[in-house]
Amino acid sequence: MKGILDFSYMIESVPAIAKGIPVSISIAVVAFGFGIVIGLIGALAKIYNIPVLKQITAVYVSFIRGTPLLVQIFLSYYGIPLVIRYFNFQYGTEWNISFIPAIYFIYVAFSLNAGAYLTETIRSAILSVDRGQIEASYSVGMTTYQSLKRIILPQALKVGLPNIGNQFIALLKDTSLAFAASVPEIIGMAKIIAGRTSQFFEVYIVAALMYWAICIVLERAMALLETRLRRNERGVQNDRN
C-alpha cells in the first residue's frame, strides 16, 4: 500500500464527479425559488390570519419539520407516480410515468421542504419590521400590497437575509440526499465512480471538497449582498455631502 490516499486517482475522478455539480445546483436553485414563493404565501397567511390557508400552512410546516427530508424524498418519488396512475385510471388521462425524469420528484420534495422552513424565516423577518413603518405607509394612503412591496418586504429582506442565506447553503448540502432517487448529483456521481474501483474514501473527499468550494463562493456572495442591502444604515445615499 502506497499511502492512505491515491492522489492521482482523486484528480482523475474530478471531471466525472463535477458533472454532478450542475445537477446539485439546479435542485438547490429550483427548490429555493419555489420555496421563497411558498414561504411568502405561508408567512402572509399566518401574519394576516387568512382563514383555511393559515391552518393548511400550520399543518404543512409542522409535517415538513417533523419528518426527515429523506422520507419526504421517498414519499414524493413513490407517491407522485401513484397519484398520476390514479388520475390516468379515473379520468382516462394518458400521462406516462416512465417519461418523467426522477429529478422532477426531487424538485417537488425539495421545494416543499424549503418552503416550510422559509415560511418561518420570512414570517419572523416580516414581524421584525417596526409596526410604525406599516402605520406610516397606511397613513399616506398606501394599500396593503403597496406597503408590503415597497416598505415592509425590502426591510424584512435586510433582516432575513443572513437566515435565508444560511438556508440556501443548507439546502445545497441537502441535495446530496437526491442520490436516493438515483439522481446523478455530486454524491450520485461519486457513488457511480467509486463503485467501479471501490476507492470510496478518495471519491468522497473529492465530493466533500466540491461542496465546500461551492459553499465558500455562496458565503462570499451572501456577504456582498448583505453589505449592499445595508447601505441605508450608513446614513447617506452614495457619498456624504
Partner: protein, 250 residues
C-alpha cells in the same frame, strides 16, 4: 369641514373613548391636551382609521364614515385625505429623506418618479432640509426626521394633518425647530389637529384648544379663552400643575 360625533373606542373591555364629539373648521388649528391615558392619541388615530372606532361618526367634508360600515375603499379615501405625523417619526427606513416625501406621490397619486421627486424637493426646502435630501432616516437627527415627516404628510395636500405628540420623543434642544415648522404650516392655513404636551405652543399656535380626560372632552374653547378663563375644575387643576412645573424649570 371635520365633524366628529359621539366617537367611542374600546379595546377588549377597556374603554378609551367614551363619546367624543367636536368640530374643526377649514384652516383651523386645534390643539388637544390632557393627561396621559386620556385617549388623545387614540382619538387622533381613529380619525384616519388607524384604529377602527367602536361607535360614532366621522365627517370629512362630504365623506361620512359610520363606525359600523367601514369599507376598504373608504379606508383608503380617508387616509388619502388626511396626513399624520407620528411621535416616533416613522420615516420609511429604506428610503432617503426625499424618497420618503415622494413615496405617496408615486404610489398613491401615480405621478412619475421625476415629477414626484421635483415636488418632494419643494417640500424639503419648505422644512429647510434641502441639503439632507439623500440622507436615510438613520443619518438624520430626531428633529430633522420629524421635519421630513411633516413634509411627507404635506405631500398629498391633505384636508387635515394629524400630529400625534410630534415633539415628545425629541431632545429638548430639537423641539423648537420642529415647532417652528409646524407654526409655518399653520400660517398657511392648513387644517391641523395637534395632540401635544407643549402647552405654551398650544397657546401660541392653536385657534381652539380641547382638554380631554378619561376618554371624554372636558372643555373646549378658543385658545385665548381656554388659557385665560378655564371653566371646569379639572382643567384648572391641570393647567395649575403645568404652571407650577414650569416654575421649577425657571
Amino acid at each position: 369641514m371635520i365633524e366628529i360625533n359621539n366617537l367611542h373606542k374600546h379595546f377588549k373591555g377597556n374603554y378609551v373613548l367614551k363619546g367624543v364629539g367636536f368640530e374643526v373648521g377649514k384652516g383651523e388649528t386645534v390643539a388637544i391636551i390632557g393627561p396621559s391615558g386620556s385617549g388623545k392619541s387614540t382619538l387622533l388615530r381613529c380619525i384616519n382609521l388607524l384604529e377602527t372606532p367602536s361607535d360614532g361618526e366621522i365627517k370629512l367634508d362630504e365623506l361620512t364614515i359610520h363606525a359600523h360600515h367601514i369599507t376598504k375603499e373608504m379606508l383608503l379615501k380617508v387616509r388619502r385625505s388626511t396626513g399624520m405625523v407620528f411621535q416616533n417619526y416613522n420615516l420609511f427606513a429604506n428610503k432617503t429623506a426625499i424618497e420618503n416625501i415622494a413615496e405617496a406621490l408615486i404610489t398613491v397619486k401615480k405621478k412619475t418618479r421625476s415629477d414626484a421627486m421635483a415636488e418632494a424637493e419643494v417640500l424639503l426646502n419648505k422644512v429647510g432640509l434641502q441639503n439632507r435630501a439623500k440622507h436615510y432616516p438613520s443619518g438624520l437627527s430626531g428633529g430633522e426626521q420629524q421635519r421630513v415627516a411633516i413634509a411627507r404628510a404635506l405631500a398629498l395636500n391633505p384636508k387635515v394633518i394629524l400630529f400625534d405628540e410630534p415633539t415628545s420623543a425629541l431632545d429638548p434642544e430639537l423641539v423648537q425647530e420642529v415647532l417652528q415648522v409646524i407654526r409655518k404650516v399653520a400660517k398657511e392655513h392648513v387644517t391641523m389637529i395637534i395632540v401635544t404636551h407643549e402647552l405654551e405652543f398650544a397657546r401660541d399656535v392653536a385657534d381652539k384648544v380641547i382638554f380631554m380626560d378619561d376618554g371624554r372632552i372636558i372643555e373646549q374653547n378658543s385658545a385665548v379663552e381656554f388659557f385665560k378663563n378655564p371653566k371646569e375644575e379639572r382643567t384648572k387643576k391641570f393647567l395649575e400643575k403645568f404652571t407650577q412645573q414650569s416654575m421649577y424649570y425657571i
